[in-house]
Symmetry: C2
Subunit: 219 residues, 2 copies
DNA sequence: GTCTATAATCAGATAGAC
DNA sequence: GTCTATCTGATTATAGAC
């Protein structure tokens, strides 16, 4: 550990040092960037606008994030950090936890909007977030397959396996977010996601159809 | 009918008149715009780039579409026209037709990409395509509910109704497109959509589970 | 670390010639 | 109808003072 690192650690502990202030600044910038990306998209967001909302000049911002692309990477990493507890513990999750996450998102349209806008943007050529989303979806599909296997075993309705149902689960979450953002009065994201879970839970792959309709009226 | 309209009709019939050439130009511009929006997004696409690909100057383009926003409206209308036959006949569709549409889309990544990018973009503030997508999703949900009712009746697996399953169907289609665009080698969009249909068809609301597992091994 | 000043580029749109 | 020329404004990024 270098002398500088010791200072940094000490500063962080004290909570009011140089490094702590630096971290605060970075957080403020990332927060502003997230909001503006939600409002105007990545390409539509200017560094000057982010800087203004964060309370500094464009050039001051560039001191913390040397380029617009690095700022985007910062935003994505922050989002990852934000639900890291979630992602890391996915193996132990259940479908109720997923439903809870959807309900939680329903109370945070801004975050959902940032995600939806960037995900759509990411499929364009040479997009700085493309790699991030490609990896993310692989990870999410694997995690969801694990959840489904834990919950329902190897055989799901319609002859599906957890691995084949996982992309559908991810797709439903994203697709519902889009419809909900566009028309929140018309689309009840939480209820709709519950409906999909009912679809996965009803009439299991064991060929036992006696459970059909049971416990599915939580509308 | 005015004298001018008569001339226009005559021109159109002859196939080589002024109006026909004008229409050709517009088509070329719209085609170029669609491609570039797929590649770079709406905000990332410049009029000059569209014009160059269409074989004229930016100012020539502005003669046909007076503003960038009107060009986007043109693109969306063209897309509507493109699958108008589909949308109009939705009432008579069946789920096989939907599966066929998904398979058709799987062969046209460019079109899917334009749609995905614009849909994500549309949730940003004051986006010129927002209204279009809001209306489109309402229409699609209604159409899909009709398809499901025709096919499966009023009761679906998991205690769902056609109206409650419709947003899920739309969500799955959009969500799968996103995952497929990002990772075509990993995500088999057509097979996955078939899986979802199996989910809707298996163990129906009537309690008849005898069809479970049939025709679902097209992995 | 944050600022002012500014470079270098590119955007969408207009005016007017042909 | 399509062009050349031009305007106006915004963008990312750099240089250097404090």
């Amino acid at each position: 550990m270098t002398a500088r690192d010791q200072v940094r650690t000490a500063d962080h502990r004290s909570g009011g040092g140089r490094e702590a202030r630096r971290a605060e600044r970075r957080e403020a910038i990332l927060q502003a960037a997230m909001e503006l990306i939600a409002e105007r998209g990545y390409r539509g967001t200017s560094l000057a606008a982010v800087a203004e909302r964060a309370g500094l000049t464009q050039q001051g911002l560039l001191h913390h994030f040397p380029s617009k692309e690095l700022l985007l990477v910062g935003v994505l990493e922050a989002r990852d950090r934000w639900d890291t507890a979630a992602a890391a513990a996915t193996g132990a999750w259940r479908t109720d936890t997923l439903a809870g996450l959807v309900e939680y998102n329903a109370g945070r349209p801004g975050v959902v909007q940032t995600y939806t806008v960037l995900a759509g943007d990411s499929v364009t050529e040479d997009h700085p977030a493309r790699d991030f989303f490609e990896r993310r979806f692989r990870r999410v599909r694997e995690g969801l397959a694990g959840v489904l296997r834990t919950e329902y075993g190897d055989r799901l309705p319609g002859g599906l396996t957890p691995e084949r149902a996982a992309p559908l689960l991810a797709a439903v979450m994203d697709g519902l977010q889009l419809q909900w953002l566009l028309d929140p009065a018309e689309v009840d994201m939480t209820a709709a996601f519950g409906d999909f879970l009912a679809l996965l839970g009803a009439a299991g792959g064991e060929g036992d159809a006696s459970a059909v309709g049971a416990g599915t009226d939580e509308s």
